[in-house]
Amino acid sequence: MSISKQIIKNTLIYFLLIFGYMYLYLVDIDQILFPQENMEVKSKIDFVYQQF
């Protein structure tokens, strides 16, 4: 493979990696496609009342 083709291929790979990082990790693509106005957030941990 020629040098320029290799550079273009790697540029494309990095582009997709950064794009994926942004739209899958940083923002949820689901949220963009199906926006939610009122999101109810809960705690994953149930804290049991304890005496100290």
């Binding site: 550079i7 990095y14 923002v27 496609l33 106005e37 109810e40 957030v41 705690s43 994953k44």
Partner: protein, 407 residues
């Protein structure tokens, strides 16, 4: 440097660094181009209006929907009403201040809280209602046990700092950025303990990461903010407006003999205990203090780490807000039962720290803490750490003398 490593550096530069930079530039160009084409989105306005329903009693949390939020806001907006924040000592007992003051004196009061409701969630609730905090009658019932935890937990945060409150805080321009950053920091540090991050929470988290986060958090927050601004319709943050119609209660005369009432309550409590000499009510004693073999448990107070105490930091932030907003606020410092807890005097530096902060700002408080058995007034607590009728009546007198006696 050998020829081999020279070639490797060349390859790394040519096949990775150059493509990575090109890809980064392409993404930046795309972001700039797309954001230029995207129309600006204004978050919709959501108005919560109606009559104030609760002028007495307690909301154990604020998950009951718009009316609970409206009653909370109305309680702070209504300058005739006292709002009492606390935690596990809040019950439905008739002598709890939010029941006794309205029922016996016609002084409207609302209690907010249950176990784990601590300084940080109280701070956030007050921030959401910040436009009404000035001159508002507020009492915060502090428990020394809060300062032995890692601060407000995420369950309490989610129950009390409702999504609408977060949205209100995001949109409220009069709120100092340091509070928004503090909330963002909390969300960032606890992000894995929530089932998700709402748009408002993400906004505040970004504020913190941009202001105080490390370089990676900074890059992530910058990119996140850019992406959200490009897709604003998908990440709406509503502008919440509360419009409560206030209700006022008729005042009543209270002619009871103070000393007689107090004595009576104390004696009734003491006479009711048949199983122990710890001044703990029988039911609690059998359930929590005595084990299956009938052996009495002993509690122990640990030394407080002042250098790393999140609750104390939250307390300072809370006091700071109340002072800045000129709230008509007061504090109650509850005791723990020194007949059950060994080394109750280990809390003395904590109580001193709290009272010094309150004294510095000239904030009134009722300090009920007793570091020894001799200093403890039996009956103030009904068990090892929860206020009994006698203790509540002391608070009722304190609140009445502070807010209403001379009106």
């Amino acid at each position: 440097m050998s020829a081999k490593s020279n070639t490797m550096i060349k390859k790394l530069f040519l096949f990775h660094l150059v493509p990575f930079t090109l890809a980064g530039l392409l993404i930046c160009g795309a972001l700039i181009w797309i954001s230029a084409c995207t129309a600006t989105y204004c978050g919709s306005t959501y108005i919560i209006s109606g009559e104030q329903v609760r002028t007495k009693g307690v909301y154990d949390n604020l998950i009951y929907g718009d009316q609970a939020e409206l009653d909370f806001i109305a309680s702070l907006k209504n300058k005739n009403q006292l709002t009492i924040f606390g935690s596990s000592e809040f019950t439905d007992a008739p002598l709890c201040s939010y029941n006794f003051l309205p029922d016996s004196l016609g002084i409207q009061s609302l209690g907010i809280g249950h176990a784990h409701h601590q300084c940080f969630s109280i701070l956030c609730e007050l921030l959401a209602a910040s436009e009404y905090v000035a001159k508002s009658k507020i009492c915060i019932v502090l428990s020394p046990s809060w300062f032995h935890t890692y601060g407000t937990n995420t369950e309490a945060f989610a129950e009390f700092v409702r999504p609408h409150f977060i949205e209100k805080i995001v949109h409220e321009k009069s709120i100092d950025n340091k509070y928004k950053i503090a909330i963002g920091k909390y969300i960032h540090e606890h992000r894995n303990e929530f089932t998700g991050i709402s748009n408002g929470m993400a906004f505040l988290k970004d504020e913190y990461c941009l202001a105080e986060g490390n370089w990676l958090d900074f890059i992530n927050a910058s990119l996140h903010k850019k992406l959200v601004s490009m897709h604003q319709n998908s990440f709406p943050i509503q502008n919440i407006i509360y419009q409560p119609k206030l209700k006022n209660m008729e005042r009543k005369e209270w002619v009871a003999d103070k000393n007689k009432t107090m004595q009576g309550l104390q004696q009734t409590f003491l006479a009711s205990i048949t199983t122990n000499k710890l001044y703990v009510n029988d039911e609690y004693y059998n359930l929590y203090v005595k084990d299956a073999d009938g052996i009495e448990a002993i509690g122990e107070i640990k030394e407080i780490d002042f250098d790393n105490n999140q609750e104390l930091e939250d307390f300072k932030l809370l006091v700071d807000l109340l002072v800045k907003k000129n709230a008509n606020c007061s504090f109650v410092i509850q005791p723990i039962n020194p007949y059950y807890y060994q080394y109750a005097d280990r809390n003395i530096p904590l109580i001193d720290t709290l009272t010094k902060i309150l004294d510095k700002h000239n904030l009134p408080y009722l300090n009920m803490y007793a570091p020894t058995k001799e200093a403890y007034d039996p009956g103030v607590l009904k068990d090892v750490m929860h206020l009994g009728d006698y203790g509540w009546m002391k608070i009722n007198y304190f609140l009445d003398s502070l807010y209403y006696e001379h009106q």
